[in-house]
Each structure stands twice: as C-alpha cells, then as structure tokens.
C-alpha cells in the first residue's frame, strides 16, 4: 500500500492551467458531438457539485450566523439571519458556560501531547528506520498493530490502569491525559515517520557523524530539520485528532471543571435539550472550531494529504 505524503494531491487537473505538454487534443477532432457531450455533462456535474457544497457548507455557516442570534430566534426561526449581532452569546459561552476554562484545558492537554507525540514518535521512528538491531521488526510491528485495536475495547482496562497508577491516580489530570493522548497517537506517528525517515538520504547523516557529531546530535540537528515536511503533515494530523478527541476524555476525564471542549459542548447539548441557551452553545461551537479552521485554511493541502494518508495504513 502506498503512503501519501504531503506531496501527493498534485492538482493534476487544475482547470484553466492548460496543459502545455499535451499535443493538440484529439477531443477537438471529435467535433461538435464531443463538445456537446462535455457541455451537458458539465452542467450536470456542476449542478451536483453545487448541491453537495451547499449541503455541507450551509449547516456550518448556520452555526456562525446562529452564534449571533438569541436562543429564541435560533429555536423559532432557525433559517433567519440575526436581526442584530448578539455578541453576548460569545461572552456567555466563554464565561457562564465555562468554554473559556475548557478551551484552556484543551490547549494545555493538546499542546503537551502534540509536542510529546512528535518528539517521542520521531525518536522511535528514526531508530526503527535507520538502525539494524535484534528486535527492530518486532518493536515496529508492535507499534503498527496498535492502529487496529478498537479503542472501545481498551478504555475499560485503561480506566483502571489510570486509576490505580502507582504514583497516584492519573484520572482527570493534565499529565495523565497527555500521556494517554501520546500513547494512542504513537502507532500512526511511528508508522508514518518510519516511512518518511527511510526516504531521506543516508549520506548526510554519515557526513555529520564523520565530522564528529554524536548520534543524538545528528538526529536533532541534521535529521529532524530534513524531516520537516513529514513532521508538518503528521503534526497537523495529531493536532486535529487530539483537539477533536471525544471518547478518551469522556472516560478518563470526568470532572466537570477539567473538561475539554468536546465534552463541554456535548454536556451543554445533552443536558437541557430544547430549553438550552442555544446562542451560547453556537458561540461555544465557534470557539471550539476556530483554531481548527485557522489550521485548515493555512495548511489546506497538508491537512487533506495528512488525513487521507491515515486511510492508507
């Protein structure tokens, strides 16, 4: 199976770019019939694409415009645009609905675990990719096997591993959540980065070693900078996965004040049904989405390539 690195979605068909290399297209030789065929299909395909784009885009825009409406307005006239901008939804979400606290919890946990995953994952991957030693294959497959374990099967024993941890319960602690997020992100990170380190030329590392650099220094000062494209892809992948993680915190992080954003949103949605402060909930969803949207718009190509690489495991 192939791994798609961030180089992959070559926009092979960027429209309008023309393709200077292709000779005079045989399509023109087919005359009017060909053109008509393309024209009808073009209208049809555009129509379907536009319908689907609306079906996906409108619900998401709806969250944005609803976050400026009153709860009553959201309930009784869900399609209506806001009559005036109710910014208080955003402050209510941040303060009263505790989204501010949940945001900070999420940033600490995800920040710690993304950095931890990247450092530990690429260390393990580097050693597994570049050194031969007894047990290398065994350790590699041990990591890779983790991608196929259903998390639901693991959460029950995991709950007790955390609760009965020798140094005290790790449940609902930042360090406990960070360790768990790292552990569950390692399989794919190791798999992806091992493949990436294998593609890097060996000669550079050898040159560094000849110049007297230690293994550790070679790794941090030579190999890691060379692996930057791979690190960006896998870093985004882990950031999105961990930011949106729901099941693990549901089980391991049950104190309300320690909730992450996904839990906070689910709690508000589940608790009060239709008598909710819907305005604050919509603003809360925007708050939870904003960091992800920023990353998505900046790194669109890498995000798409990085996430689809996950399917190719």
């Amino acid at each position: 199976m192939t791994i798609k690195t961030d180089e992959t979605p070559k926009q092979g068909v960027v429209p309008g770019a023309g393709s200077p290399n292709s000779p005079k297209g045989p399509g023109s030789g087919r005359g009017g019939k060909g053109g008509k065929d393309g024209g009808v299909l073009n209208v049809f395909s555009h129509g379907m694409l536009v319908v689907w784009a609306l079906m996906v885009g409108v619900p998401l825009l709806w969250v944005l415009w609803s976050s400026f409406k009153t709860s009553n307005g959201i309930l009784t006239d869900p399609w209506g645009l806001p009559t005036s901008l109710h910014w208080e939804n955003w402050s209510n979400a941040w303060n009263k609905a505790n989204m501010g606290q949940y945001f900070i919890n999420t940033v600490i946990i995800v920040g710690g675990s993304v950095i931890g995953t990247m450092v530990l994952g690429s260390m393990a991957a580097y050693v597994l990719a570049r050194f031969t030693f007894p047990g290398n294959r065994f350790i590699y497959y041990l990591f890779v096997a983790g991608m196929s374990f259903p998390v639901f099967m693991l959460v029950i024993p995991l709950f007790f591993v955390m609760r009965d941890f020798p140094t005290g319960s790790l449940l609902t602690t930042y360090q406990g959540m960070i360790l768990v997020y790292i552990a569950y992100s390692l399989p794919f990170t190791v798999f992806f980065m091992t493949a990436f380190f294998r593609t890097l030329p060996a000669s550079v590392a050898e040159a560094a070693m000849i110049d007297g650099a230690s293994h550790t220094r070679t790794f941090f000062q030579v190999m890691l900078p060379m692996a930057k494209p791979g690190l960006i892809s896998i870093g985004i992948f882990n950031f999105l996965g961990q930011w949106n993680q729901y099941l693990l915190p549901m089980v391991l992080n049950q104190e309300e004040k320690d909730y992450v954003l996904t839990q906070g949103l689910a709690m508000i949605a589940l608790q009060q049904g239709y008598e909710n402060d819907w305005g604050a909930l919509m603003a809360g969803m925007m708050i939870a989405m904003l960091p992800v949207l920023v990353v998505y718009f900046i790194f669109q190509r890498q995000v798409q390539a990085g996430l689809t690489a996950g399917a190719m495991k």
Partner: protein
Amino acid sequence: MQHGKYRFIAGFLALPLIIYAIFVISPFIQAFQISMTDWSGLVGTSKYVGLDNFERLWNSDDFWNALRHNIYMLAAIPVVTLAMGLFFAFMLNVGGRRRKNEVVGGVTGSKLYKLVFFFPQVISITIIAVIWFNIYNPDPQDGMLNSLLGAVGLDSLQNAWLGEKSLALICISAVMVWSNVGFFVVLFSAAMASIPREIYEASLLDGANRIHTFFRITLPLLWDTVQTGWVYMGIIALDAFALVQIMSVNMGGPDGATDVMPLRLYQTAFRDSQFGYASAMGVAMLVVTMTFAVLTMRFARRERIEF
C-alpha cells in the same frame, strides 16, 4: 562505537515504548482477562467466571439488537459514501467542459469544492452531532429540515426524524455519510490525478463515453484505494458512538432503535459498573472488526494493475 550505538538506540526507544506498553499494550491484554471475570471495579473483588460473560452476551437481546444496527450501518454506509465519493471525484477530475488542448478536464473551482467537501473531517464529531440535532428538530415550523420542506411545499415529507422509530437509524447513518464523503472525494481525486492522461485519451479516441471511461478505466485502476477506503469506512460504521449518544432520543432510542455496540459497552461499563461483562463486549467488537477487515481484504482482492 558499537557500544555507543546500542546505548543510543535504547535511549531513544525506552520512553516511547514504556508509555505505549503501559497505556495501550497492557490494556489490550487486560481486556481479555477482565472479560472472564465478574469485576465491578473495586480492587481485589474480581472473580474468575470463565466464559460466562460471553454466554450471557450470546443470549442478550439488547446486544444482538445493537449488533444488528451496526451490521445494517456496515452494509449501507460504506457503499453509499464510497459511491458518492467516487462520483464527485470523477466529476471534479473528468467532468469538466472539454477545452482546447485538453481531452479530459476537471470542473472550474475543483480546489474550492474540495475545501468545502472536506470540511466536516476537521471539526469535532460533537459539533456535527449538535448541528444535525437541530436540523432534525421534529417541530414542523421550527425544525430546520421540516421548515425547509414546508417552504417548498413538501409538507407531506415532514417527519419527527430522530423521534420516528423507523427513521432514526437512517437519519444517523445519513450524518455519517454526510461527514465522510469529502474525505473520499479528496482521497480518490489524488488517486485519479495519478492515472496517466494517455489512457483517457486513448479510450476517448476509441469512442468511449465518460460512463464507460469510469467503469472500464477509472474504477479498476482505483480498486486498491477503494478497497482500503472500504475497510476504513466500515470501521467508522462499526462505531457511531458519539452521534448516537448526543443525537438520539434517550441515548439509543426511540425504544432501542438506534442502539449500537459501543454505546452498549459504554453504558454497561461506566453506568452499570459491570466491567467484566462490558469487556466481553469489547472482545466481541474486536472479533467483529477483524472479521470484517479480513473478509473485505479477501473478497475484494483483484489482481493489481500496474500503471
């Protein structure tokens, strides 16, 4: 030198391996152990009960009900999602107007379409659940979907959606399709872009239309990607936990109509404290997932076409 190398290897592997062993490998092994006990969570109170939990599971109507729903989803969701993904990817890559110098062309703005279609992939499943909870609001005037149907004169199609026993599971499945189509559009687009142009040119010269082109060229050349996508989507269909938990009436309702295995497991463990029994469900889920993956890989195998 040799000594230094092994010290370096051990130093780099130790920490990742220890964390991984404690939080992933050891729970995996313990899951089998716990599934053969009647453990309620208190330290030192578990008793070995052999395969009793599995026997109880086999005779449990609730569990079969949940498993059946997962199987329905497994049968429907991957087919629909992959078909739509292939369709849109083909439209984006080959559906465009025929231009000068280009035999097959994508539609204008294919990058923008992909940006929008892919969107649900990057946001949290809880947010998706809350959005669709509002869309499915059963009130004929206030519900988003219902009021839209009313506005275009299709009042007869208005429904209680999630409150309707025969529709609830379909409604939740539709959300899973909705949120995953974009993923496959991007995945298949990348794969289609790597198919050499000459193959399309040759087939069009031979008089093939686009439908032929799709079934005779694109699909066979994409088969590997489709197959892995199938497994990937199947595993998602076997989950559905967050959507059912947040959207469905009374978690798994109405009247058990949307209950799924992960929700059964979660409630058995963390609401009823029957950890032994819930672990047996977890082992059953592993078996179902593995069976599905192996069967797909076996029956979907075609000779690989190199190009």
